[in-house]
């Protein structure tokens, strides 16, 4: 706990009707609407793996360097994305950081501004945190807390054979910069949950193929992705043309790239068809969501892709994974 920083920080925190005890005490006490469940998730980002700061103004490497403000926003956004994947309403976050001793104060302030922007956008409360100094690079961990009515939350392990698979937007190429400007689908998730039956859901953080594989495996089912239905983000096309990356196709980027943070939903066929025909902005004002059916869940445990000419291939669930030995 760094007193000078806290003195700067605390007066800036919103008063919030959900906080019975404000940040600055040992813990925050949260007042939730009666009868709701508490939903909690945590994510940690490290400099060099999840983002890097520019060392000079001439730095124009790929992927683009992040500002501390972007890192603050993103650290919150990825945790909120997990709440979206549960259809939970975000309520609060707590944030812990390890800051480099030199320049840490300024970094902390910029981080906080990014965090605060996200807090305001999603009408949540920053309920606490822990600020540490050390001689290493920046590490930031955000725990997000949401609420949901009993038995209303989406799970990843309850997809059913016959369900249609939906993604909420185009995929691939996020490393060109979208990975630093994540919009968690919190409002979209709660709006969809209030109107449509959803059997299973997760957020695509490590890549469509790997994350879809996780949902199907957890649900003890298989599935087929129709490759011509997978919505490809323009960034995936641009990235496939950048010469210094692995030369893979835009479709491969859409299937494998992480950090899209769109939702993958498994829904009964009729509900899925209704959702994609619905006007997204009638669900959530000004949403950028574009739900698309990309395949279906099967009783057979195989996880395959199909092409319009009828070719079927087993899918290798490629994507990002942390590796340690």
């Amino acid at each position: 706990m760094e007193t000078q920083f806290l003195k700067w920080l605390l007066p800036q925190l919103n008063k919030d009707h959900r906080l019975e005890v404000l940040p600055g005490d040992d813990a925050a006490v949260l007042r939730f609407p009666g009868g709701k469940r508490t939903v909690v998730t945590t994510d940690l980002l490290t400099e060099s793996v999840d983002f890097r700061f520019s060392k000079s103004s001439a730095d124009n490497d790929f992927p683009p360097p992040a500002s501390a403000h972007q890192v603050g926003r993103k650290a919150v956004a990825v945790s909120l994305s997990d709440l979206a994947a549960m259809a939970a309403t975000p309520e609060a976050i707590v944030v812990s950081v390890a800051l480099p001793q030199n320049g840490g104060r300024r970094l902390a302030e910029e981080l906080f501004k990014g965090i605060q922007e996200e807090v305001n956008t999603f009408d949540i409360t920053l309920a606490g945190g822990d600020t540490n100094a050390w001689d290493g690079p920046l590490v930031i961990s955000v725990t997000a807390i949401g609420s949901i009515l009993p038995r209303q939350c989406w799970r990843r392990d309850t997809a059913q054979a016959g369900d249609f698979l939906i993604v909420t937007g185009p995929l691939g190429g996020s490393l060109l910069g979208r990975h630093l400007n994540v919009t968690p689908r919190c409002r979209e998730a709660t709006a969809i949950a209030s109107r449509y039956p959803v059997h299973a859901a997760l957020d695509i953080s490590d890549g469509l193929a790997i994350d879809c594989g996780r949902m199907l495996t957890a649900s003890h089912v298989g599935g087929t992705i129709e490759l011509d239905l997978v919505p490809i983000h323009p960034d995936a096309i641009s990235l496939s043309e950048v010469p210094h990356t692995n030369q893979i196709t835009p479709l491969e980027h859409a299937m494998q790239d992480g950090e899209d943070f769109e939702l993958l939903l498994a829904m009964p066929a009729e509900a899925a068809q209704a959702l994609v025909q619905d006007d997204p902005s009638s669900l959530v004002a000004k949403t950028t969501m574009q739900p698309r059916i990309i395949g279906k869940v099967t009783e057979s445990l195989d996880f395959c892709s199909t092409t319009p000419d009828g070719q079927t291939k087993r899918l290798e669930p490629k994507g990002f994974e942390h590796v340690f030995q």
Copy 2:
């Protein structure tokens, strides 16, 4: 998220009636007893600042090196200590870690065993986490979630002039090893809260002088600590005799050393006297708690120490603080 590690981890997690959705999904859903508040706190520990691992068997430096098991336990314990300081009942934790790429798997397992030991001791649930690999040293962040009845929690900013100040055990010298074997006063806190009025509380993590100063400042009051009443831990005496540390007295260790994790309470005089005369084990079976009155809260804003011969001095709130620029 490291799949191999998760496969090893998930089957070991307790089933728990509070978990509507188990770890392994995007977030955990917690079922709390109706009408209670959710209490949340987060702490982050970094290698080199909060602990260090032994690099060789001949390593006998001071402070003693930690095992990963001890780090896991401690990371949980310090967050639970924050819940104790609120008189909240611990319910759940989420844990995020950044692990070195080499040896990270083994480290993660040992960490987890330490975490699990603490989870079992305090009958809480490990509700989720995030496991990351990077090329830096170990960082671990624990968010603890507790419950409490509305308006029952202890705060740090409500000490009242006339209150007696109590510590729950002897202080100082924790760096000799107790800092790696922290016992959060959770059971003691809820037991005291159920039987005695407590006006303010916090856990002594950065040192009695600095933490007491924080309570008094937050409460807009002053206070006096009677130096001959401060219970001095035998470790404070031992540490004062170790030649290669700053040569300070046992009392100075008791006043300044961090990481004791005893509670500091501000209580009405009569209640304080009853608590210290009570048998601690009638409150909590097998507790090591030894509550002692060490001073009182004053209307004057000064924060002073007194000696039996009547000398009064202004107290400098010395103790541990993270510093970054």
